[in-house]
Structures are given as structure tokens and as C-alpha cells.
Amino acid sequence: MAVEETTNVPVEPLRHEDRIAIEDVSSWVLRIGVIASVLILLVGLVISFAHGGITKHIMETQTFDLNFGRLRHGIFAFQGFAWLEFGILVLVFTPILRVFTAMVLFAFEEHDRLYTAVTFLVLVMVLGSLLFIR
């Protein structure tokens, strides 16, 4: 009996440890996303100010205007403004990625259909509002 008990005890917590917690994954997604975006924004600021010619007027008038071709070119050409726009995109997609990873974990790790559907609905609405509203 005593042997059986000692062999049974460690199994439960170990199995629990193996489960991927949605809390931990969400935390990492948010942390990596937001730190990456702020670093990219800072690169954009450093490049812009290093080039000079940035005035308060420019800061208050140059708006976000997305054009993927120009953005890609600008990032590789190390243009400050392109890096700023890129940082904003990473920032906006950080919480969306968090919803997506939660959905995947609810579906395949927790096997929770209700919350898989709930997170799917949120994902569709957020992406819809981002892509189709003009």
C-alpha cells in the first residue's frame, strides 16, 4: 500500500505541469509583442532624429498612411518613418495574436468548445473592424 501511494502521488502534479497554461502563453505573447513593438518604434525615432530635420511641426502632421510596398521598402532602407509605422502595426496585432493563441489552446489543449467559439468570434470581429472599416 505504502509503495503504491508514493508512486501515485507525483503523477498528478507532473501531469498538471505538462499542461500548457493559457495564462502563461498569453503573458508571453503580450510581453514579446509589446516589447518588440516599442523597440521597433525606438529604432524609428533614433533613425529619424539621427538624420536630423525633425521639427515639432513634422511630428504633429506626418500621419500613419499604410502602403505595404512602400513600408517594406522603407524598412529595408532604414527609413525612420517606415520603422515607426511598422512598430505601430506590431503593437496593434499584439492583442489580436493573444486572442488567436488562446483560441488555439482552448481548442487543442483544453478541448473547450464553448470558449473556442467565444475566442473565434472575438477574433473575427476584431480583424473585421481592422480590415474592412474605412
Binding site: 495564462e23 518604434l41 525615432l45 498612411d65 473592424s129
Partner: protein, 281 residues
């Protein structure tokens, strides 16, 4: 050189916004928008555009800490995000072109100042007592627990009022799409008044949710050319550093003190909305 000084001023104000936001469960627009408009003379639409994008940084920074420390109730967050995302879409796409924001600001300001009353009544309460799960909360398994670093024990709590909380969240979404600020404050109200969870859970769960609402609402601001990347960069940086610092404070504060900080934020946003509605700012 003035541009650089301007940058540092924005950074400092945003740092304060991040600390306050992460403690009160809001994004920090309550500090950022008035500083950019009143003290720096920026057009309010651009100030709101910078604020709404930066709310994502407060939310992600503070949210990542609270969810790792298991203070956030992710089931509440995920479920109520449906209502708030729906509200954000309807607010931004359908209502924004037709509603005058001036009387809307007044209405919202009055609503917030009125909701100070139930919050003030809860002053002195450290943990909610006698809360009984409602039917939906039971079926959605929303009950939770967290380790309170100040009380130095595990706190278990019940959740009630899900239909009312959903209505609050829907309204929070509409408001974030229309007015740009105040979505976090309505989410905390939903937790405090409708669901009656401990204040730390209110702050943490609201912080976790506002990123999604802000992301949904930011599309409109990005598309309309109301986001200034040179302003967003220092605001997001300041707010993120402030938010990380604020979480350290919040986890060691009492629930009662957190509620008092929130009451101040509530009064400030209510007042700002009235002033905006009457065209003062």
C-alpha cells in the same frame, strides 16, 4: 532641439499615464489626452488617435504581468470581449458618422460622475461578501481565485450580474469607437458594480481586455489618418515603462486603495467629458 524636448515631455507624461492606468485598470488616456491637448496644444483628434494606439501598450504590458501572476480572470475577459468587440464595431462603423460627439460626451460624463456614487459606497470594503453566482456565471465557470500579496493568502470569489456586465462591455466598446477614451473605466465599472469581484481582479481583467477593444477601435483611427507615428512612439514607450512599474505597486496595494485610485480616475474622466462636450477642451 525643441522637437527633442517635446519628445521627452510626451515621454514623461505618458509614463505617469502608464502607472495610473495599470493601477486603475484603464489605458491611461485620462492623462495622455489632456496633456497633449491642453499643455501641448495638439488637436484633440490626434491626441485621441495616439492615446487609443498606446492603450494597447498599457494593456499588453500590465496585462502580461497580471495574467502571469494569475490575478486576471481570463474566462471573464474572453467571454465579455465578445460584447465589447461588437460594441466597438457598431460604434465606429455605424454610429460614428451619424452621432454628434458633443452631446454624447456630456451624456457619458454625467453617466460616469453618477457611477461615482456606487463606487464611493464601496469604500472601506476590502473583499466583496455574500456574492452569489448567477446562472450564466455558473455555466461559464467564471468563479476564480488569486493570491493576494498584501493579504498574504489565496482569495476565492464569486461572480454575478453577467447580463448587466455584458451591457456595460457593449457600451464600453461603443464608447471606445466613438469617443476614443473611457473604455477602460466602463470595464472596471462592469467588474465593480455588476460582477462584484475584488478590485484587483477588476483592474487586472479590465487591463487585459482593453487591448483588444483598442485594437478593434484603432483601425478606424489608422484609416482616417488620425494616428501620428512620431507621437505614438514616445507615448507607447512611456506608457509601457509606467505600466510595468505600476503593476509592482498595484499587487502590493489593498483592494480598497485601488478602488480609491479608480474613483479619482472616474471623476477625472467624467469631468473631462463634460468639458469636452461643452467645448471647453
Amino acid at each position: 532641439m525643441t522637437a527633442f524636448v517635446f519628445l521627452l515631455e510626451i515621454l514623461g507624461a505618458s509614463f505617469a499615464g502608464g502607472i495610473l492606468g495599470s493601477i486603475a485598470g484603464v489605458g491611461g488616456g485620462v492623462v495622455i489626452v489632456p496633456v497633449l491637448t491642453i499643455f501641448m496644444g495638439m488637436d484633440i483628434r490626434y491626441a485621441i488617435g495616439a492615446s487609443i494606439v498606446s492603450v494597447i501598450a498599457t494593456s499588453s504590458g500590465a496585462g502580461s504581468v497580471y495574467v502571469k501572476d494569475r490575478i486576471t480572470n481570463i474566462r471573464i475577459a474572453m467571454f465579455l470581449e465578445v460584447a465589447t468587440a461588437l460594441g466597438a464595431i457598431i460604434g465606429a462603423a455605424l454610429l460614428a458618422p451619424h452621432l454628434p460627439t458633443s452631446w454624447l460626451s456630456v451624456l457619458f460624463g454625467i453617466t460616469l460622475l453618477t457611477s461615482l456614487i456606487p463606487i464611493l459606497r464601496k469604500f472601506g470594503e476590502e473583499l466583496p461578501e455574500g456574492v452569489v453566482d448567477d446562472d450564466l456565471a455558473r455555466r461559464l465557470r467564471l468563479d476564480g481565485s488569486y493570491f493576494d500579496k498584501r493579504l498574504n493568502r489565496e482569495v476565492t470569489y464569486h461572480v454575478t450580474g453577467i447580463p448587466l456586465a455584458s451591457a456595460y462591455m457593449f457600451a464600453a466598446g461603443i464608447i471606445s469607437g466613438l469617443l476614443g477614451i473611457g473604455a477602460g473605466v466602463v470595464k472596471v465599472l462592469a467588474h465593480e458594480i455588476a460582477m462584484k469581484v475584488p478590485s484587483k481582479v477588476s483592474t487586472a481583467t479590465s487591463n487585459f481586455m482593453i487591448g483588444v477593444t483598442a485594437a478593434a477601435a484603432s483601425g478606424v483611427y489608422l484609416n482616417r489618418g488620425l494616428v501620428l507615428p512620431f507621437i505614438v512612439a514616445p507615448v507607447a514607450t512611456g506608457v509601457l515603462v509606467g505600466a510595468f512599474g505600476g503593476t509592482k505597486l498595484m499587487e502590493r496595494m489593498s483592494n480598497n486603495l485601488i478602488r480609491q485610485v479608480f474613483a479619482v480616475v472616474l471623476a477625472l474622466i467624467g469631468g473631462q467629458m463634460l468639458l469636452r462636450g461643452f467645448g471647453v477642451i
